[in-house]
Symmetry: C2
Subunit: 97 residues, 2 copies
C-alpha cells in the first residue's frame, strides 16, 4: 500500500463532493453546488479555488442581465486525475474486504 | 449527496492508510507502519496522535530489554467509525459509475 497513490488534491470531503457532482452533472453553477453539498459560500469558494489552481476545474463567468452567473466544469486533466483517485480508492477498499 | 457523511478524521491519506493497515493487521508497531506507508516519523506520529485523540487507536508501550516497543490497535469506536466511512466512500463511488 502506498498512500501517496491517493491524490492530495482530493483529500478534502468537499473537493471529493465537487468533483463527484461535476462528473454526474457536466456543468453546475455556484449556488447549485453549494446547495447540493450543504456547505457555506466561503468553504465552497476556497475549495473551488484550490481545484482551479490544479487546473482540474474550468470556470466560466457570464452576464445574465446585470447579474453574473458563474459555472464550473471539469477539465480533461481534472477528469483524468479524479478517475485515477477513484481507482486508487477502490483498490484500497477492495483490500479491506 | 452530503459530504458531511464522510468522516473528517479520515480525510488524510495517511490516516486512511493507518486505519486500513490496522484493519488488515490487528496490531502493528511504529516502524512497520512507517515502512508500510512510506512516510516520515513526524508525519506518522502526528496522524497517530490525531487518531488517538479521537479514541480510534489504542497505543500500547512495552519494554523489550531497555528498548520501548510501541504498538497500535484499532479501538471498537475506531472500527465502527472507519467502517461507516468506508460505506460512505463506497456509496459515493457507486454514484459515479
Amino acid at each position: 500500500m502506498n498512500v501517496n497513490d491517493l491524490n492530495k488534491a482530493f483529500e478534502s470531503r468537499v473537493r471529493l463532493g465537487i468533483m463527484s457532482a461535476l462528473v454526474v452533472n457536466e456543468r453546475m453553477d455556484f449556488n447549485s453546488l453549494k446547495e447540493l453539498l450543504g456547505i457555506t459560500d466561503g468553504n465552497l469558494a476556497s475549495h473551488i479555488a484550490a481545484l482551479e489552481k490544479e487546473e482540474y476545474l474550468l470556470v466560466e463567468k457570464k452576464f445574465i442581465g446585470k447579474k453574473t452567473n458563474t459555472t464550473y466544469q471539469i477539465t480533461k486533466k481534472g477528469n483524468k486525475a479524479f478517475k485515477e483517485h477513484i481507482q486508487q480508492l477502490e483498490k484500497l477498499l477492495k483490500k479491506l474486504k
